[in-house]
Symmetry: C2
Subunit: 364 residues, 2 copies
């Protein structure tokens, strides 16, 4: 049985707790013989800043480059609200994404049948929802230069961020979306604002050309990002794969996640290109963020973190069987009534993070 | 009785139909003696492009500057999908906004009780919803330079858009939000992405300072734009006034509008600064867009257009009584069962645009 090198970056807030839950599942996986892992643990975000004065140290970055995959909890929190822009916890995560060239962010928005009632939307609109959002993650307004605040002669200030996209950046993320769609329903929606942004014009042009030349069998729809937000609320099931840029992807993927009513359940994958040796850099993390309000209380739902491992097994290691088994264990645990507070509804006795992780591990 | 000079710009798609509905109401208003108007009608968007080769002619712009207020229907449609970027129908609207310095876009998201069932959200989440989104409209990534597509040495392309905000631009839109909040519930949420954008950093800084110095009695909350999208779905009634930049405002205001289930009912106002003579430039338009799929079929709901006149009476002319009377007429028409197809639900016999406008006029 192959053994994979995982780098665990629990991070801040509820990160360490959900990473603890993940460890329980990793141990169980090992016992079943489905897969084994060598895990190393390190710091990222606010905790790294506290320890090393930077939100991601060079040593941690080297470890991340050497790992077969990275599993990250969450970064950030009010404790670091006052730190310099360059040192904010999020900068650690952004550096990981950028330096590892993790350009493809896959965010499934799945509505778990047992939890459809937890959605703000009417049940019939979200039941069975299964969208894959493909967000470009290393370009756009997050990274473009100039990105600065300057002081004007009259003492007031001027802030600039730059949205930049090249043909190559758009093409490679669109490929990921089309390839995924080929294994799903065969439908891609591409969201931009070509009516006001030049990057939107180029985005639409490149996606259209790639589609015509290489993916004519996939059904492609262009949609304006504002309309996309509306359609996600109005009739979310019209979407299958949705590809978009870094900034729109940030907002639309969070929106889609919230629609499902299962935010604490949703994992994500951030993937690099496949290199000459057939490997691809990858980072997996839950969608939920650091949730400082419930940190340290054994309340957080570990399923998004565990689901991130499922994605890791599937996308990084090609261990489809192990991934299916783990997905099945999550479903079984839920079916047997296991609920953390976020998904408990009116239930009297929600379980804690550890107990939920154990329920999944036991179901394995 | 004072008479006001209105410039009517019906535009494209369903624009001319809803503007026709508006005319019915303007006539009725005149009869009641509540207010009289001198109206001029002109072209903007695709129809202007067809007629004059530009989506907004200099003559029309002059007329817009001379008018006391502008009422616009909608611009754009698939017919003009292929035209040059500079000449697309939307460019006409953007030029109006920019050249008249209409920096404050007010977008109420109100859930009409009679229509709560039409929302995708559960009734209890949206019933009574009344949010005012204040979107900055003449800055940010819509207008910043450079804004271009260049060809790289290898023949591939590079697109750039620039998000720019100055202290002054942020301050004046934040004032509008705080002032409005003072007349409502006294709460403002300000949405940006200060964790990844320098413009977000400046935005938060300026709003915080203005609040501390001049609006300490207003309750201010800062929220990340991605989280804001989530919270709008999860618990929309937590918001009262929501202030944000041009791009986030575009997406979040459409999202909020869709939540209400009453998209065809929602008006908007785009306001300039008050000048030395106490006047302010203003443009009023429905939120719904040109809806080319139903254009020319007498199906469109004219209420958003009529509601835009209500906003005009209130914000441009200080005619609170006339505005209240018109709002009351809309409510009465709805209460008496008047429904266009978009809000008819399962009702067998929805009425047309004209009939709905007449129902409102009769109720006046
Ligand atoms: C933490 C933050 C920098 C990040 C982002 O904006 O990309 C987060 O919101 C996300 O979506 O992963
Ligand atoms: C028509 C388009 C340019 C416009 C915008 O993006 O501002 C529209 O979506 C709006 O929100 O008023």
């Amino acid at each position: 049985m192959a053994s994979y090198k995982l780098l665990l970056l629990p991070g801040d807030g509820i990160g360490p707790e959900v990473a603890g839950g993940l460890q329980v599942v990793l141990d169980a996986l090992k016992e079943t013989g489905l897969a084994t892992f060598e895990t190393e643990t390190d710091l990222v975000g606010g905790c790294a800043l506290d320890a090393h004065g930077v939100p991601l140290s060079d040593e941690t970055l080297s470890r991340a480059k050497a790992a077969d995959a990275i599993l990250l909890g969450a970064v950030g929190g009010p404790k670091w609200a006052g730190v310099a822009y360059e040192n904010r916890p999020e900068a650690g995560l952004l550096r990981l994404r950028k330096d590892l060239d993790l350009f493809a962010n896959l965010r499934p928005a799945i509505c778990y049948p047992a939890l459809a009632e937890a959605s703000a939307l009417k049940r019939e609109l979200v039941e069975g929802l299964d969208i894959m959002i493909v967000r470009e993650l290393t370009g756009g307004v997050y990274f473009g230069e100039p990105k600065e605040i300057t002081t004007l002669p009259d003492g007031s200030k001027r802030a600039v961020d730059t949205q930049v996209y090249t043909t190559g950046e758009i093409e490679r993320i669109a490929r990921v979306a089309f390839d995924l769609a080929g294994k799903r329903s065969g439908r891609v929606a591409s969201a931009e604002k070509h009516n006001v942004m030049k990057s939107g014009v180029l985005w639409k042009e490149v996606v259209t050309k790639l589609h015509a030349e290489h993916y004519a069998d996939i059904q492609l729809e262009h949609i304006l990002a504002d309309n996309c937000a509306m359609q996600l609320v109005r009739r979310p099931k019209q979407f299958d794969v949705l590809v978009t840029d870094n900034l729109f992807g940030d907002v639309l993927s969070d929106l889609a996640a919230m629609l499902t009513g299962s935010l604490g359940m949703l994992p994500s994958a951030s993937l690099g290109a496949v290199d000459d040796s057939g490997l691809r850099r990858a980072l997996y993390e839950p969608c939920h963020g650091s949730a400082p309000d419930i940190a340290g209380q054994d309340k957080a739902n570990p399923i998004a973190m565990i689901g991130s491992l499922t994605m890791c097994l599937r996308y990084s290691f090609g261990l489809g069987d192990a991934a299916d088994a783990l997905d099945g264990a999550i479903t079984d645990a839920l079916a047997s009534g296991a609920r953390t507070a976020d998904i408990a509804g009116a239930s009297a006795n929600p379980m804690g993070t550890r107990a939920m992780a154990s329920a999944v591990a036991d179901a394995l």
